[in-house]
Amino acid sequence: MLYALKIAARYLTASKAQTALLVLGVAVGVFIFIFMSALIGGLAEFILSRTVGDLSHVTIEAEDPDPAILIHPGGQVLAVIERGRARTASLSEAATFIPLIETVPGVIAVSPQITGAGFLARGAQVAQVSVTGLEPGRESDILDLDGYMTQGSVRLGSGLIVLGEALAEDMSLRLGQTVRLQSSTGVSAVLTLSGLYDTGNGLIDGSSIYVSLSTARTLFALPQGVTRIEIKLRDLNDADAAALRIAALTGLDAEPWTEGAEQLLEALDAQAQTGVFLKSFALITIVIGVASALLLSTYRRRPEIGIMRAMGAGRGFVVFVFVTQGALVGLMGGVTGAALGYLALLPFPSREDFEVGTLPMDITQGSYGLAITLTVIGAILASILPARSAARVDPVTAIGQ
């Protein structure tokens, strides 16, 4: 059907201004499609990076053993030993698992931690805190502590403590001053404030403190192992698959961030669906535009269609000519719109450099190929009705026009 393609192309080039307008209309639709894809995708990335980016993507936590119970030979439970408030469970073989976990594809950081509750006291002031013991040198592997530091250093060492500016302010603490930390197990340590951070998250800034892993061992009386392993992935969307792989590899219960984040995922899903609607409207506009323009062209070229039919062109040939016109318009409009969309997105900062107050446009999520493909398909579908109408033209009537 090379000849039908030639005729379709000739018809388009014969009315250059009309074709240019039509292609421009399609291109605008594709531009909106790409702009929306980049915006919705970028917004999702932005929200995820702000909410989950600083969290562990996969977490392995030591599970407390089931409480001991005393059962009567008759089957009745006579006594239950309640769980203690203090954490007693640990991942005693963490040192063995960590190198294994690091080999899992997509894993970029593994952070062994000892976590627990405690009280921070300075003079008469006491604050309940959440204590995290981190391995020196891996302080910023999960939460980018280094990036949030406002004073001092993130480097954790023996006898040092890093805490949020909000908490420091509450307790009137300044860098270099000492503070007493008592763990939930009752062990106390006097620590020197070596760094202050401000994440912007009130919960973290007001109640989380960081010490070295060795300090945490002392505080929580955990001579070996850790209580928790946090894992960061290159792509947080791979968390479910990575958690399954890690669980299979280690036999431990690896939990992806998506568990317990249903509300966030629902919100993102709703946002994505909004994007789908907006993009669908853009596509519908393209389809209507192409269909109406080709219908007009069909009407205008009725005498020519009649001549072609008289000269021996079959109905299929006529359909092919007009469908090919639609496909060419879709392709040209799609490529033009995609190029315009790409150029328009270039000035926006990359996903790594999103800033508050700017549109979080992600140029990599423009769905360029999809936009062009859907546009061509849409334009082909839009041209079927005019093409069928053209094929039904009665040559006798058309030639007489």
Partner: protein
């Protein structure tokens, strides 16, 4: 005399009920191979309807029509389209060229549409026909830029492109000045004589009709002379 086409008892009606108009009323006609016939008759006599049916662009309401031994009344649209392309050429009063194509592209259309592309052989045949029509200097001209006479000569070349056995011409000179009209008729006569192509030319012009060896007069939907 070998018959090229044969129609008998051809009836064509348009509309239904009180609005029904019977244009052909049992027309019968035989056209021999190599004939050059003029189709005469007043307006509304059914000349154009007959040409349209003979050109397989319209089916009769009843009657028989066979050409080259093939029954064209019972054939479907695809068969008729293919038959038309291979065996019948058309020349219309208003040339009816494709305006966005060159003279050569218009001429090769009937072959290209059948073969799916413009072959070198088709282009060579097209050039040869246009040269024969005295249009060698206008081969690659956009058809819209040609004069009326030139356009009609391109239309004659197009009608001959697939070496059809029958060329139907509906008032081919009706829109031309006398000189151009005679030029076109001379070409038609030359092709009829040299290649044996059968021509059926509908005309009101007695002079044009006089150039044809046979005159068929249609009146009130039948052949009257």
């Amino acid at each position: 005399m070998t018959a090229l086409l044969e129609v008998s008892e051809l009836v064509k009606t348009f509309g239904t009920g009180e609005a029904e108009t019977r244009v052909l009323r049992g027309l019968s006609l035989v056209l021999a191979v190599g004939e050059m016939a003029a189709l005469l008759g007043p307006s509304g006599s059914g000349k154009s309807t007959l040409l349209t049916i003979l050109g397989t662009l319209m089916k009769p309401t009843s009657g028989r029509y066979a050409m080259l031994g093939q029954d064209l009344v019972s054939a479907d649209d695809t068969e008729l389209t293919e038959f038309r392309n291979r065996h019948i050429g058309f020349v219309f009063q208003f040339h009816n060229l494709l305006p966005d194509f060159t003279a050569l592209e218009n001429v090769v259309f009937p072959t290209a549409v059948r073969e799916g592309r413009e072959t070198a052989a088709a282009r060579a045949r097209g050039r040869e026909l246009l040269t024969r029509m005295g249009l060698e200097a206008r081969i690659d001209f956009p058809s819209a830029n040609l004069s009326g006479g030139q356009k009609q000569r391109v239309a004659v070349a197009r009608a001959l492109m697939n070496r059809p056995e029958l060329v139907l011409a509906d008032e081919p000179t009706g829109n031309l000045d006398r000189a151009s009209a005679m030029q076109v008729m001379d070409l038609i006569a030359e092709i009829n004589r040299d290649e044996g192509t059968t021509f059926l030319i509908s005309t009101h012009d007695e002079k044009i009709a006089g150039l044809c060896r046979r005159q068929i007069v249609v009146g009130d939907g039948v052949v009257t002379g």
